[in-house]
């Protein structure tokens, strides 16, 4: 029985992932071609695409999506590499990791709200320089956020993705064999006379980058198609393509749906094009710098660059922390006049007010998060167990499918998926929301559990089996207890991802289920700063509690086990 379940779990996983993504894409395609039985439209044709092409400002939308996606990914990657290069052999790398780690749990919407508060005309940055430097006694006219060039979006995305990429790189370097080899090779390069920065770029990076490729591509795909960041920080006339698509889909004029579906396909092509462009860029850079690697030059102004990097890193870190402190202060702020750096008094009333309205979204957030995460963790564990029982790794195809939801823009298939969901089951929206969340939670849970599962000492299982334990007993009584801590981390991560989902919640529930995140985004552009600060803070606190529990519980349990 148990071995049967385990055996079929990878196939079940594929169905759970392929069916919604592929089904969603197909139904978006059908709608784009004008075939929408729900709207009683059956005249198939290209009128959706025609309408899209004649939309004023379409090219601006596309350009905005491309530039914000590409530039923010480039910036985040460059900063990541510079920090790694400058601090590769220094104790500071661990300190930066510890400092940035907790930032990972901040959902995009909360990060966007915090960055908005930072760069707004009356935001923390202009308060810090007023009036002593700027001479401003009143908040100036400013273009941030919502600037037409998408600079605010780029700042937001870069600051949000930098910690993610950096931690992915440090995670790769923490793999025992691989990390040791890279550190030793770096040392060899130092002994051969290379300065530390040059050694990193000529020796370490070529080996490290292949492990960074998937995270970088997922950042690129996300950045080019995200909705929360441009919605909160971006311009409105016109917005990015993804935001425009969302508006069209939600428009009361149902005729806009055909155009929106066509635009969703355009978004898919845009993101796919960016990914291809990026991969081509990698090839070109590899070709161009082939000779550079072995030309024997050991120093490229390393001391100068080292200083620049220290300054830039400090600047980015202080941006992030000023933004967060500003956010927390707004959530408690009483009266707060412009150039003052601190509010005149701190009050609880915004929280008290929010708590009255928040119980429903809070329960929804927790219920969806817990059910989704439990499903994701169980499915992942079963798949990894099947890998060990079959003594062969999952196929490359399975991997590709698991990471698919990270690379295909949600906005391109979610509308189709929602349409399918309503066709099959429009009664229990709760179930639909969970299925959509699962698509985005699974890849992260899978990523986070894989390496610990594979590192399990196989001899424990062999000993148990030789004592007559069934595979089922080995799984529950030998393997799972050893994985207690990694499973808790995966649960915390899954919860954090689920808590932060905006588009899947909004669409799959047809707006009928509100969560902290949907409320935060809805409030970000309308309500008072104080209210939206409260929601953003709650958005950050929830996942943080999860991670703190995941960190504390194992210590508590193992301590009692020892006594």
């Amino acid at each position: 029985m148990f071995t049967q379940i385990v055996k079929y779990s990878p196939k079940f996983l594929l169905v759970v992932l392929i069916f919604p993504v592929l089904g969603g894409l197909i139904s978006v395609l059908l709608q784009a071609l004008g075939w929408a039985p729900a709207l009683e439209q059956y005249n198939v044709g290209l009128h959706g695409f025609n309408a899209l092409m004649h939309t004023p400002g379409l090219s601006q939308m596309v350009v905005l999506s491309i530039t914000t996606g590409l530039v923010s990914t480039l910036f985040a990657l460059m900063m990541t590499l510079m920090i790694l290069a400058a601090f590769f052999n220094s104790v500071w790398l661990n300190r930066i990791q510890r400092l940035l780690g907790p930032l990972l749990v901040i959902p995009h919407a909360a990060a966007a709200i915090a960055v908005g508060f930072l760069i707004a005309p009356s935001g923390m940055l202009s308060r810090l320089v007023s009036p002593w430097l700027s001479g401003w006694d009143l908040a100036p006219q400013g273009m941030f956020p919502h600037d037409a060039y998408g600079i605010s979006i780029i700042i937001g995305l870069t600051l949000k993705e930098l910690p993610f990429l950096l931690l992915m790189a440090l995670g790769a370097l923490a793999q025992p064999e691989f990390g040791k080899k890279l550190h030793q090779q770096h040392k060899v390069a130092l002994n051969l006379g290379y300065c530390s920065l040059t050694a990193f770029f000529k020796v370490t990076l070529p080996s490290l980058y292949p492990l960074l490729r998937l995270p970088v591509l997922s950042v690129l795909a996300y950045a080019s198609a995200s909705v929360e960041m441009p919605l909160i920080l971006g311009p409105n006339t016109p917005p990015t393509l993804a935001v425009a698509i969302m508006h069209w889909f939600n428009d009361v004029d149902l005729a806009l749906r055909t155009k929106a579906s066509a635009a969703a396909l355009l978004q898919l092509a845009l993101t796919g094009g960016l990914v291809v462009l990026w991969l081509a860029g990698e090839k070109v850079i590899k070709r161009l710098f082939c000779d550079f690697l072995t030309n024997g030059k050991r120093e490229y102004g390393g001391v100068f660059w080292q200083k620049i990097i220290v300054v830039l890193t400090t600047l980015a870190a202080s941006f992030i922390f000023v933004a967060l402190i500003g956010l927390v202060m707004w959530s408690f702020a009483g009266f707060w006049r412009f150039p003052a750096v601190m509010p005149e008094q701190f009050v609880w009333s915004h929280y008290q007010l929010a708590l009255i309205q928040i119980s429903n979204p809070l329960i929804n957030t927790l219920a969806i998060g817990i059910v989704t995460t439990v499903c994701a963790v169980i499915l992942t564990l079963l798949c990894l167990e099947s890998e060990q029982l079959n003594a062969k790794p999952l196929s490359r195809f399975t991997y590709l499918i698991i990471y698919l939801p990270l690379l295909i823009p949600g906005i391109s298939f979610l509308f189709g998926l929602v349409w399918l969901q309503q066709l099959i089951n429009s009664k229990t929206v709760f179930f639909n929301v969970i299925l959509s969340h699962l698509l985005f939670v699974l890849p992260y849970v899978f990523l986070s559990l894989t390496s610990s599962y594979r590192r399990l000492e196989p001899r424990f299982s062999h000993v148990a089996a030789s004592l007559g334990a069934s595979p089922c007993k080995v799984f529950f009584q030998v393997k799972l207890p050893q994985l207690f801590a990694p499973i808790l981390i995966a649960v915390a991560l899954g919860l954090a991802i689920s808590f932060g989902q905006y588009l899947p919640t909004l669409l799959s529930s047809g707006g009928r289920i509100t969560t902290i995140t949907t409320e935060a985004v809805a409030l970000a552009n309308g309500a008072s700063r104080r209210t939206s600060a409260v929601y953003a803070v709650l958005q950050m606190v929830l996942p943080l509690i999860g991670f703190i529990l995941a960190w504390v519980l194992p210590k508590y349990f193992f301590k009692s086990a020892r006594l």
Partner: protein, 212 residues
């Protein structure tokens, strides 16, 4: 002037516990052998000489290379070549790339000729375009040796460089390395726990004890 590597009054500590004290001078072409059980601080001694001592260790003493004090010199400017237990060839570069990486910059054609000549000398003719992962252990060790020598070091450290090779190969590679050290008249320090290495080096041998 004869080249020399001198360790003056080195005392090495791990968390206030003294591991070793060394006061030695090696001249060009000589090989000083340091023996001792694992945990006696042999590798940390080499890390101190190259300037990569981990922060959990403390050291006092001076290191002089060719009459210049290099205590404060950053690792990459010390011109000290190291051979490790593993060949540690760069897997993103070919055999030729690995060696070219180590050579000083210069005329591309001359560098390639020099690499080909060096490969021929150690019996690796025609392997320059091979990927290091496709070489045998002995071939990898030879490429690592060439890479180190062509970087034109002023002194050489050997960190148990033969311990992963099987017996016959070990004798051959050891002979090759020692011959090259004597030909280039470079001072060398070798740490090992193999007595045959120490005998073959024909130099002074220091044995470290675990200090409790």
């Amino acid at each position: 002037m004869q080249s020399s590597l001198q360790i003056k009054n080195l005392q090495l500590f791990r968390q206030n516990e003294q591991l070793l004290s060394v006061n030695e001078q090696v001249v060009g072409g000589d090989i000083l052998t340091i023996m001792g059980p694992s945990g006696s601080g042999k590798s940390s001694l080499l890390n101190w000489i190259t300037g990569t001592l981990a922060s959990s260790f403390k050291a006092s003493g001076e290191i002089w290379l060719d009459g210049i004090n290099i205590d404060k010199t950053p690792t990459h400017l010390r011109h000290i070549g190291v051979l490790y237990q593993d060949a540690l060839l760069f897997s993103h570069l070919s055999v030729e790339g690995n060696i070219a990486f180590a050579m000083p910059k210069g005329n591309k054609k001359e560098r390639i000729e020099k690499i080909e000549h060096a490969l021929e000398q150690v019996g690796l003719k025609g392997l320059k375009d091979r990927h290091p992962d496709n070489l045998s252990g002995g071939q990898q060790a030879r490429v690592a040796l060439l890479r180190m020598l062509l970087s034109e070091p002023k002194a050489i450290l050997l960190d148990e460089p033969f311990s992963k090779l099987d017996t016959q190969l070990r004798v051959d590679i050891r002979q090759l390395v020692f011959d090259q050290i004597r030909d280039h008249k470079l001072p060398a320090i070798m740490v090992t726990h193999d007595h045959s290495d120490a005998e073959a080096a024909k130099g002074k041998v220091i044995t470290l004890d675990l200090i409790r």
